[in-house]
Structure formats: C-alpha cells, structure tokens
Amino acid sequence: MNELASPLDAEQVRKDFPILERRLAGDRPLVYLDSANTSQKPRAVLDALADHYERHNANVARAVHQLGEEATAAYENARTKVAAFIGAPSRDEVVFTKNASEALNLVANTLASGLAADPRFRLGPDDDVVITEMEHHSNIVPWQLACQRTGTRLRWFGLTDEGRLEVSNLVDLVTERTKIVAMVHQSNILGTVNSVSPIVARAREVGALVMLDCAQSVPHKPVDVTELGVDLIAFTGHKMCGPTGIGVLWGRTEVLDALPPFLGGGEMIETVDMTGSTFAPIPHKFEAGTPPIAQAVGLGTAVDYLSDLGMVNVAAHERALTTYALERLGEIDGVRFVGPRLPISRGGTVSFTVDGIHPHDVGQVLDELGIAVRVGHHCARPVCVRYGIPATTRASFYLYTTPAEVDALVDGVKQVQRFFG
C-alpha cells in the first residue's frame, strides 16, 4: 500500500526532519517507529534554538538590557503559544517544567507537603488518590511516594481484557474520600485513549480534582483543556517535535493559586528575608531557578509547526496509519496485540507480542533492518503484569510516518519469525 486516506503529505513532512535522512549501519535507511518514546525535531525547531543562542541568549526576567529583554520576550511568548495550543483560558496557567514527570511530581508533592492553606489541597490519612493500572511510572511513583509520606490510600481503576479502563466500579472507586484522580489521557503502551468525561463528572460530584497525563495526547491530537473540564494536565516537549529538557504543567488558576510552592529559589519569590519569604504569582511561583529558556523557545516553534500542519490532520494521519498497521500486523500468525485491536478511541501506538519470541529479540532483529521500535515494559510495568507478559514490542507513529514504514515493520516481523523459527 502506498496511498493512505490521510490529509497529510508525509513525504513532504519528512523533508522538514533532517534526521530522517540518516543512514544506519549497513547503509540502511532509518525507519523510526519510536515516536511515543521521543519524537524527531523539524528543522524549524533546530533553527529557532540556534538563532536564540546565537543572537538573543540571556537570562530572563532579571535584566534591563536588550538581550535580556529579547530573551524574556521570547520565553514568555512561548508560554502564550503553548497556552493557545491547549486552549488555556490564561497564559499564566502554563508552567514550564523540565519534563512531564516533573509536572506530575509537582502536583503530587505539593498536595503531600501539607503546606496548602485550603484543606482540599492537603493529602491526609482519610483521603484517597485514584490512579489507573495503565499509568506510566511517572504517574504511579509520585503518588506512591506522596501516599507513603501522608498515609493517604492509593486506589486504581483496573483494565479490561481489551486494554480499556474498567469503569464499572467508578462510583465505588471515586468517593467522598477522593482528593484527586490522576490518570493518563492516552496510554503509552496500549494506545488506548481514555474517555475522560464520566470520570470528571463523578469527580465533580465528590469534589475531587482531576489531573490528566497528556504526554501522549497533546502531541498527537487536538487537546483543549477547557473542553476536557479537568483541573490539571501534564505533557512534555520532546514528544511533540520540541527539544528535550522542557515539559508543561497546566492548571486552572484557582488550583495553581491554592497549591503551595514546589521548588524554591531564583525568580519564584516576591521577597526574601532570612526569616521568611513570600512568593510570586503563578506561573512564576512554580518556576524556580533559571528556566529552560532556549527549550521553551524551541517548544514554541514546535507548537507553531504542529499548528501549521493542523492537529486535526496529524490525528487523522495517525488514525489512517494505525488502521493500516492493525490490519497488516493482525494478519501475521503469532502476533497478538496488547491494547485495543480496533482503531477506535486509540492512538498510533501499537504494542504486540510475537509467540515464542521475546520482545528483546524482536526489537534486535528489527534494528538490524533499520527499524527502530521500543521493547520492554515501556515504563508501564503494571500493564505487563496485568496481561501476564514480561514485555511488548511497540511501534509508534507520528506525522512523518509512512505506510511504507508500516510495510517494512510487517516484513521485519516476518523475518524475525523466520530467524527464530
């Protein structure tokens, strides 16, 4: 197959990504099917980084000089772009962190600190935190640590055999005890896109906060925080054509205002005395120390790049590819999907096992063919435990992925089977 019912011209898009011309060992072309792990970067983003360092580099918010003003304007402008990209009502609701993990930890940590004035933002032994069995470790461990510190109980939604959230016990799970429901929007291992609204509705009934881990959704489809109706979301720059070293926490103003500060220092203060300090308003309250300035500029450019292509188109492209990949991989004897088998409410992340062959071996042979997939538990080990497997092989698509690359994957899996057969 060479024609995909996609609104994107992936061949054209590929020209924007220098690394896609890379030749691997044995002069093989790169077939990069690991974008859920990290995405590649378009030329525009690399140019923005270089231009920043070569012409405008200075620290932000501290200088009255020209470079300082330029750097500050560029940094704050990136915040405005990101806010618009996710439909945030105010740019002050966008906090730059180092990655999605920091954003998730920030919330878990400040809720656990006990320093919030309002008791709704303090975890204690009579409270519950509710997560799901399909979380990335970055949305499990912070809550385990928070619960350990505060005596709060950790509960979770289970999974159906199809790889979807088991929500039949919603009312029993999310109760008056629940302080926060923290869950993934799109699973990085199953590909599942969770239906958020029933959970938000229940959380509102019982007065719980809802935080969404959007690390795998914001890069791949239109996400509008106002429409979602949640309180907080986290995502990460490097998975959405941006640089490493930057992530985003978005939160409703009332919620961010109510959370106590997380890291202290640098520009997050209002005034500092040896005997005590007061803090800046959001977003700066949560941005201690020199922020990832160049990385924010790069992320702003990535957001421009994605917006120019149109997130609706990106999502449609991935849907077409996923449909094709599920169909073609599904035809191979011995391939079993881990996650939804139908291209409905799922993203372009396809996990599978190959009977009798360990994912490490699958990935290794694919790599020899120039096909980069991820193998392992994908930082979501409870999912593997749930389905009784040690690991999976995962192919994940993005706006530069072509149907020819899916074909290469399918041929590669067959070669793996011959090799170990």
Binding site: A25, H358, D361, Q364, E368, F419
Partner: protein, 151 residues
Amino acid sequence: MTTDTLYQEIILDHYKHPAGRGLREPFDGESHQVNPTCGDEMTVRVRLAGDRVKDLSYDGKGCSISQASASVLHQLVAGHRVDEAFGTCDAFTELMQGRGEVEPDEDVLGDGIAFAGVARYPARIKCALLSWMAFRDAVARALAMAGKERA
C-alpha cells in the same frame, strides 16, 4: 555488525535446547534477578557439595540471550569447583564489559565465547549477565547460610 554477530548459531542452539533448565530441589542458595529495563527475570538455585557446585538449576523469562546465557552458565559451572566457577564468572563478565575488545579464552569459557558479539550491544549486556549475577548471589547466600549453621 549484523544480527549474526549477536545471534551466533551456538546461542540460538542453547536458546532452543537449554541445558539443565528448571528449578530443582534440594538447594542451598537461591537468587532472583530482574532487568529493570525490560522486565526480564531469572531465578538461579545452587546446590553445593564440599567445594563443588553440585547442581545449578534455573528458570526465568527473557530473551534468547538471557536464556542461552543461563544454559551456558549451567554447562560451565555445574559439577565444577566453586573457585573455578567464580573464575569463569569473572572471565565471562570481563568479556561482556569489554566493548568487544576482549579476546575470549575458549578453554575457560567454552560455548561462552559465542557471546563475544553481545559486548558490542550495550542494551543486551545485562541480558547476558543476568543469570551469572544470580549465580554469584546464590552461592554467596548458600555460603552465608552454611556459615550461620556452623556458628
């Protein structure tokens, strides 16, 4: 580097026909090791008799490299003197960590020399070493236990 450097015929043979696989009773020491990056697991039991490894039994889930390596481990140490076995362990570890620059000694490592190519794949070194780490730990536990019983 091609797949063949990594997946030597000998390795595939051990993978498909592992020697001494399965957990056996009785045993003096047991160790369970996990590779956090991929979730591979390996349990190794040792039965000692005097200064000898009377039996080494094992079970685990994992890739061809980790499974074949455990089979080779069994072949090389079961029935051998403990100090010899530790010498073999050292040689195998050195080979794995040698970035492909260590010349393996067939007299010491037997089929183990087939793993020389693994050393060039950083992500797989841990797979090859998993059972060997478990073996070392199992013997240490067995000896500690024996020490306690004597005391």
